[in-house]
Symmetry: C2
Subunit: 276 residues, 2 copies
């Protein structure tokens, strides 16, 4: 049987109606703070504006000069952070090398910190507190699994990758749904075996096409969070989709997978912030 292809745009589409309804009611505002004009920041910003526009949500972009002083940056950040008309504040990181994000990380209002930059939210995610804001990508993984009706209770999950923006917070979110979670990484000895016996594999190692058919079984459910360039400079995930997709139960592609859900999650978090 052909695998279920878990498509990000389908997940996003499924979230749309309720986000539009909530947005119309709450009129939330997102403040983006961007220093300089890095192409990847601009591309992310365009994606957010396009999605938020389709949901009727206002985005205010604060572009700060690349050569801004630390003091000026901190003061601008403080101003935007304390502006009561902003429900959420999103700082694009990393900042230019001349700047530290220390002040921003430690002073952002945890209630406006919709992508989990503050240690207060990080600690909340660690503690399993559902009021805290988790980072958007692990939330996107959870939303995708929920959309496709994949229950996590009692399931064995192999998370390949232990980063603080994906592997670790996702492990905490999945624990809260009563999954049994194994966190794997480059030093894991028997990774093939660990993945092969898992019910669900989360590929977040940042290594192009590393998950091949020997890592899976016919009932594997795979969510690919990798964003890499392959040998032809084409976007690809951590899973060798072409070879793996025919032999598993469900799989998300790259592009068109989790990445297509994150801006909807950002909107969902903003609405959660506005409800407070």
């Amino acid at each position: 049987m052909a695998a279920l292809i878990m498509k990000g745009p389908e997940v996003s589409a499924g979230m749309k109606d309720s986000l539009i309804t909530e947005a119309a009611k709450l009129k939330p505002v997102l403040a983006i703070i961007r220093v300089g004009a890095r192409p990847d920041d601009l591309s992310y910003e365009r994606g957010i504006i396009k999605r938020f526009d389709s949901l009727g949500i206002k985005v205010k972009v604060h572009e700060l000069p690349e050569n801004i002083s630390q003091q000026e940056f901190n003061s601008e950040f403080a101003k935007i952070n304390s502006d009561s008309t902003n429900n959420g504040v999103l700082l694009f990181r990393p900042l230019p090398e001349s700047l530290s994000d220390n002040f921003a990380v430690n002073t952002i209002d945890p209630k406006k910190d919709i992508d989990c930059m503050s240690p207060v939210n990080l600690a909340g995610v660690f503690a399993g507190d559902k009021e805290s804001f988790a980072p958007c990508t692990p939330l996107a993984v959870m939303e995708m699994l929920k959309f496709y009706g994949i229950d996590l209770a009692g399931k064995n999950i192999a998370i390949v990758g232990r980063s603080l923006i994906l592997g670790r917070p996702l492990a905490m979110l999945m624990l809260a749904e009563n999954a049994t979670v194994t966190i794997c990484h480059t030093k894991t000895r028997n990774l093939q075996e660990v993945c092969k016996r898992a019910d669900i594999i989360i590929a977040a190692a940042g290594k192009a096409k590393m998950i091949t058919p020997v890592y899976v079984n016919e009932n594997s459910i795979i969510v690919d969070v990798g964003i890499n360039l392959d040998e032809n400079n084409k976007l690809c995930g951590d899973v060798d989709f072409e070879r793996v997709s025919p032999v598993v139960k469900a799989i998300s592609p790259v592009p068109g997978g989790v990445g297509a859900v994150t801006t909807s999650i950002l909107a969902k978090n903003l609405i959660k912030a506005a409800k407070r």
Copy 2:
């Protein structure tokens, strides 16, 4: 071959000389804040005072009346916290039901928070930041494994229990040592199997003698963090020590295991705080 019995007092004894040397140099001071006089608080306090006394470390106990108002408690806490002669502050929790620990948790100086009450330290542990203070019990487990020369890199660890004072922080500490960690709990479906194939089992479920010989193999290394009363009202761990110890490679008993290391860890954290 008889199993290696990993004894807490041996681990503590192994830490003693360097703690005494450091304490003599730094003269650190621990402030304990106790509200009321609960027997378990008093027993923990006696244990700390005895250990710290043997290391030459000064302990100041602040006993507050059980019927103290929230405002008075907060103000007392703030005073002790900001007293620059205190290197570490330890608040016994839970507080009496009439009091919230919210203010204390959020205002404790993270640099004095030697048992990881502050979200700043919790976030630091989650992030794998070694400068942060982790809670004492998971650190005691790490110290015990180190003392007995058990390397964690690439090992498969089953942690049974997902609490915020043990299972979760221990998982982060072990990840930082390149172990592959599976976090298990009451909803884990195939717990026996997960434990049986692990190199190291951490029993922290809070269920008397639940780990029986079917959960282990002859190479299992088991650290028992449980503290329970058995059917005869005798202290016991989460492992059926009598039946399991003859069939594994190494095991820690209860009592006389991890619990006998935690006050030494508290002293180690206090010295770390005093060094700053």
